[in-house]
Symmetry: C2
Subunit: 374 residues, 2 copies
């Protein structure tokens, strides 16, 4: 999506800024979106959604480029349709002339992608790991268990898992370290173990299929430092895992309570000051308000945020896309034909022993108003 200066200049010149009527229309739309989508959003989210519609007609690409909660996005699209600002044909979304005019009056320009084409914006190059690691991981991944909705699974591309391992290695969180992976449908434990770097890798998951699979791989590949155990995130972290690891990695469910549960167990598993944690966080299921809530939780728990890398994690579309919660919200119920669900990679580091409690959690901790894929 390379655009020349000339294009950008012409975009800017077409835009008579701050027309009060356009702002009024947008305010009306956002007011009515509030009743369909009782979650925090801002006019800037609407701007991002319009910028995406100016850049692509493909619905799933528009979801990716919007970088806003799907709950908001689908309600917003629906109001645009009602007002004759957006039309839907097949899986394609078109701003009408009136829609384009609104975007133009609001000063919205097409979303622009400046990502590095070699690393896809991740900043790390997994091919810096040895070829053997990369090949063996790809081979192992071929027979992985499929993602299950009951466990809110949805795994990342092989490229993502390898990049995550390269990233953790570059931060000094793998070589000679004891590593716990909490929920591992991404097979991070396998990729980490294949590098030969960690002294111990423990994968814990609720899914028996994954436990069996990881144990089989450990046996077949001779990865003696790789173990797998069954664990339900709602249970307190067992004493034998508390304070025993240098690094945790996880990819939590995105309800705030579910997210906090994963991070709490992760923090409790860490040895202490200087230990590190990794996790993914999306825009599709988490408003920036929830991002701030999570950031406050981390700081209050004794951690500092050292890295936040947008779109680092790219997910392989799971088989149950048609039964996910957001399916019914979509203007076109057409399965995705490309990666569309991305998350930011966070790294944190402990500055003091974590101040969190190892409680038993009851009930459905996996859903909130912003959740879309559960």
């Amino acid at each position: 999506m390379r655009r020349s200066t000339a294009v950008l200049q012409s975009v800017r010149k077409e835009v008579p800024r701050g027309l009060p009527r356009a702002k009024e229309i947008l305010a009306e739309i956002l007011h009515s979106v509030k009743s369909d989508a009782p979650i925090p959003f801002t006019p800037r989210d609407a701007e991002r959604a319009l910028a995406a519609l100016l850049a692509t007609e493909e619905m799933w690409e528009a979801i990716r480029l919007s970088r806003v909660p799907m709950r908001f996005l689908c309600a917003f699209w629906s109001r645009l349709q009602e007002k004759g600002l957006l039309t839907v044909r097949g899986s394609r979304l078109f701003l009408t002339e009136a829609g384009r005019e609104l975007a133009s009056h609001l000063g919205v320009a097409p979303a622009w992608d400046g990502s590095c084409s070699l690393c896809e914006g991740r900043g790390v190059d997994p091919s810096r790991l040895s070829e053997e690691v990369v090949e063996r991981f790809r081979e192992v991944s071929r027979s992985r268990p499929e993602a299950l909705q009951v466990y809110d699974q949805g795994y990342v591309t092989e490229e993502t898992t390898l990049a995550r391992v390269a990233f953790a290695m570059a931060r000094g969180d793998l070589v000679g370290k004891e590593v716990i992976v909490i929920g591992d449908d991404d097979l991070v434990s396998v990729a980490a173990a294949l590098t030969g770097a960690p002294s111990r890798v423990l994968a814990v998951d609720i899914d028996d299929r994954l436990i069996r699979f990881i144990r089989e791989v450990a046996h077949a590949e001779g990865l003696t430092m790789l173990e797998a155990s069954r664990y339900d995130i709602r249970d307190p972290l067992p004493p034998e895992w508390q304070g025993r690891f240098d690094t945790f990695l996880c990819d939590p469910t995105e309800s705030f309570s579910g997210f906090r549960a994963f991070l709490t167990r992760g923090l409790l598993a860490l040895r202490g000051v200087g230990s590190a944690g990794y996790f993914g966080l999306t825009h599709a299921e988490s408003s920036l308000e929830k991002w701030a809530q999570i950031q406050r939780f981390l700081l209050e728990s004794g951690a500092v945020i050292t890295d936040v890398r947008e779109d680092f994690n790219s997910y392989v579309t799971w088989g149950y896309v048609e039964t996910m919660r957001a399916w019914s919200w979509l203007p076109a119920r057409v399965p995705p034909d490309r990666p569309w669900y991305f998350s930011s990679l966070y790294r944190i580091e402990l500055l003091r022993p974590p101040s969190v409690e190892n409680q038993c959690l009851e009930g459905n901790i996996f859903e909130d108003e912003e959740a879309a894929t559960t």
Copy 2:
């Protein structure tokens, strides 16, 4: 610095972990470092410093790879020397056999660089801007004013400035936007204006040379949306700049009070909810404790952190390196022959009107115990 799995495996195997004597020696060293470097640091910082020494003998490269405050690093090196664990020859630092043994017993492995070679780890590719923008910026930069110590200046590489502009453009913070650059020895205002994207770019700086230079460039290049004004960060932000901008960019001095001053003025310049800010933060002059303090300040002020990209900003070594505060701490007073000073790029977004005060600041707000380059 590509390392094969075999190398990593051999590193791991040489490491008999957790030898209590090595931990004791490190604890003794860190205890005595405390008196020389009264700033927060952790054993993990010592580990990073040792990992760097295992990866390079070049002092300036070791500073870069250590990613810890120079105040700590130099005091740590000095104690290693006293204990016969480190020797210095010219600008080269060598761990002695005893030093290597200590690192090995502590389980420390050489620092490993997994950065993408195309984007140097930034994740954005400035060549996605038009060639004309890139060329004109390089041309303009040739006659830039040199960095002055009195203003704590030190500008980034042209590649960095262009990448920063590409990054802000990809986040939707430039096209059609009003942008303020607070302190602009990096010439971000010029690069942003050259894209033709923003509707207004105001550069404010204390340095009359920069004001003149940016005005001259605006005139010569026909950049009518580019302005420059003199401003001292200690003064309250003038009313005519308050709440008037969509985006601020700055690269603050790193004392906490100085940092807070830059961020406060930036937040006050923003229009409100959904407006964005950018700034750089180093490890060389800021402990992770200070990072956490800054993150808490941002969240309390009504912002959320959306991006933290390590080593995004690469600085051109300034002419006054031999009179900077850290010079006297160095084990070898040899000027750098390569980029060594890097910072992480932060992006924040406002979730509510900023809760900060527009106070007049008195006295020396530019230094704290961790400051190294002032």
